[in-house]
Amino acid sequence: MSEPASILEITNLTKHFGGVTAVSNIDISVQEGQIASLIGPNGAGKTTLFNCVTGLESPSEGSVKFQDQNIVGLRPDQIAEIGMARTFQNIRLFSQLTVLDNVKIGRHCRSKSRLWSSVSRNQKQRQEESHITSHAFQQLSFVGLEGLRDHLAGNLSYGDQRRVEIARALAMGPKLLLLDEPAAGMNPQETQQLIELIHAIREQEITILLIEHDMKMVMQISDWVTVIAQGEKISAGEPEAVQNDERVIRAYLGESYDAET
């Protein structure tokens, strides 16, 4: 087996908010084709880390390299364009737009037509529009929601909204997909479907970085798990190794765990 290339390289990443250090000195490396997970108790800094990687926050220190390109300082839209897509912990769909339009907007960064071609509706623009539409259909049927395409996104069930977010992110044609707690609020059956969906996404040669609280799911699908607590990385490794790490158990169960054993 050849040495797998690293697609995302986070080095020394630190983020302060005023006097609070949300993320401190974190190193994470995600290999191409992996399903990598990021776990940790609430408030550990996982979403802040995601925001720093996708350009919504700028890190106080450290570097983030995506396919060997330094992306610190790039705007979120530039990062999206070079092949990184994400979903949000607190679903951020365009709730007053239809499901189809949501997914079409995901295609924005892979299409071109602007003011003049939109107004003149020239042939190139019409071709692009039909391409965008068929691509959006494709993503919707991939996540199993083609029947809901004309509904307003805000009216969908929680689980379906999460799926639309994934379809919208996939429409961006990403190489790396960041999922922020995709199973939150899902019942066991929906979670199982989600696991299958994530496997199917990997089949498309998309690398996945996942924040998740559902340990059963994390241990089942991850190739690599990184654990952070209170902004610091406390463990990393294959799921089995992390599961048995003393520091991880302590972070989740608290110090009193030591006393009881």
């Binding site: 996708t54 350009g55 919504l56 705007r75 979120p76 839209d77 999206a80 364009e81 897509a85 994400r86 949000f88 951020r92 769909l93 365009f94 709730s95 007053q96 737009l97 239809t98 339009d101 079409k104 907007i105 995901g106 924005h108 960064c109 892979r110 299409s111 037509s113 602007r114 003011l115 939109s118 107004v119 509706r121 623009q125 692009e128 529009e129 965008i132 307003l152 919208r168 961006m172």
Partner: protein, 328 residues
């Protein structure tokens, strides 16, 4: 969602709209004939009807232009009259003082308006909500004060520009009401086509995404700076076209027309009909534009009537007469 503009219904409506001056002047003839037989009908004259309708059409054009910023992009614009003013004075000064042709001045006014839209946009790109609204208000007030007091270019208090010549088309002066009616109708239809096409394109979807959730839009690859600027420029250009039309229609313009109240009036039209929809802007402008003219004899009291109307709308149809959901 209806994507087709040219359905049988709209074609019939279009034909009726095209023949409207015939109806207006026809009623004149009927009134004349009956008067000769000793029956006096209290009907307004055809010219008056057309004048009111031209005003309403102008407001429709302005409402469509304004709608792009608060309706499509979700940023409250309280200074739209500023672009109307830029268009009005660009056309007024170039035509009355330099004798330029209206057909050159009209696109120039649009470009000039768009430039001011970009200029106003530059410092406001990072602002949202109340802060954006305050800047837009300040901007239009600034332009209003300048034309009101400026000496060198416009010359004198209240910014009078007089005797703006009518446009000339194939040797004919367009200074009759029915000519102006067709004139504004063509501008209005063009605006509707442009706005409709933009709304249902990649650009329109990007605007809607910004309106719904800026941060998510950014993460989808939408360059906020670029698409907000584009919205400001297109909106401002349409406002300036309205201003240029107004200048030649009114013949004499002065600063008083471009007071802050006018921005609110146009915004009310957009809100009344339903923000973010083309039909809503047209309907809202039609109702308030005609009403504003018919209630003119009540002077300041008509504002009371508008206020009550808006309160009723907010109470019973908070998303406007044609809210987006119902239209979809």
């Amino acid at each position: 969602m209806p994507r087709k503009l040219f359905t049988s219904k709209t074609v019939i409506l279009f034909v009726a709209v095209c023949l409207f001056p015939l109806i207006a002047y026809g009623s004149d003839r009927i009134v004349d004939l009956l008067y000769e037989r000793g029956i006096a009908l209290p009907l307004p004259s055809g010219d008056y009807i057309l004048r009111v309708v031209v005003q309403a059409c102008l407001y429709m054009l302005l409402a469509l232009g304004l709608n792009i910023v608060p309706g499509f992009t979700g940023l409250l614009d309280l200074g739209y009259v500023g672009f109307y003013l830029v268009g009005g004075y660009t056309a007024g000064l170039l035509m009355a003082r330099l004798g330029w042709s209206y057909w050159i001045v009209l696109p120039l006014a649009a470009v000039h308006g768009a430039l001011w839209g970009l200029l106003r946009g530059a410092p406001t790109l990072r602002l949202t909500g109340d802060y954006f609204a305050i800047v837009t208000f300040g901007f239009s007030e600034l332009l209003f004060r300048i034309v009101k007091n400026e000496q060198w270019l416009i010359g004198g208090p209240n910014g009078f520009v007089n005797d703006i010549p009518p446009p000339i088309l194939f040797g004919y002066q367009l200074n009759k009401y029915w000519q102006q009616y067709y004139h504004i109708l063509i501008l209005l239809v063009l605006t509707i086509v442009v706005v409709h096409r933009l709304q249902h394109s990649r650009v329109g979807r990007a605007w809607a995404a910004i309106r719904e959730d800026e941060r998510a839009a950014e993460s989808m690859g939408i360059n906020l700076r670029e698409y907000k600027s584009l919205a400001f420029a297109v909106s401002a250009a349409i406002g300036a076209v309205g201003g240029a039309f107004f200048a030649q229609f009114q013949v004499n313009i002065s600063a008083g027309v471009f007071e802050f109240w006018e921005s609110i009036f146009i915004l009310c039209m957009v809100v009344l009909g339903g923000m973010g929809t083309i039909k809503g802007s047209i309907l809202g402008a039609g109702i308030l534009g005609v009403l504003g003219e018919l209630l003119r004899e009540f002077g300041g009291w008509r504002y009371l009537i508008f206020g009550i109307l808006l309160i009723l709308i907010m109470r019973f149809r908070p998303a406007g007469l044609l809210s987006k959901k119902e239209q979809d």
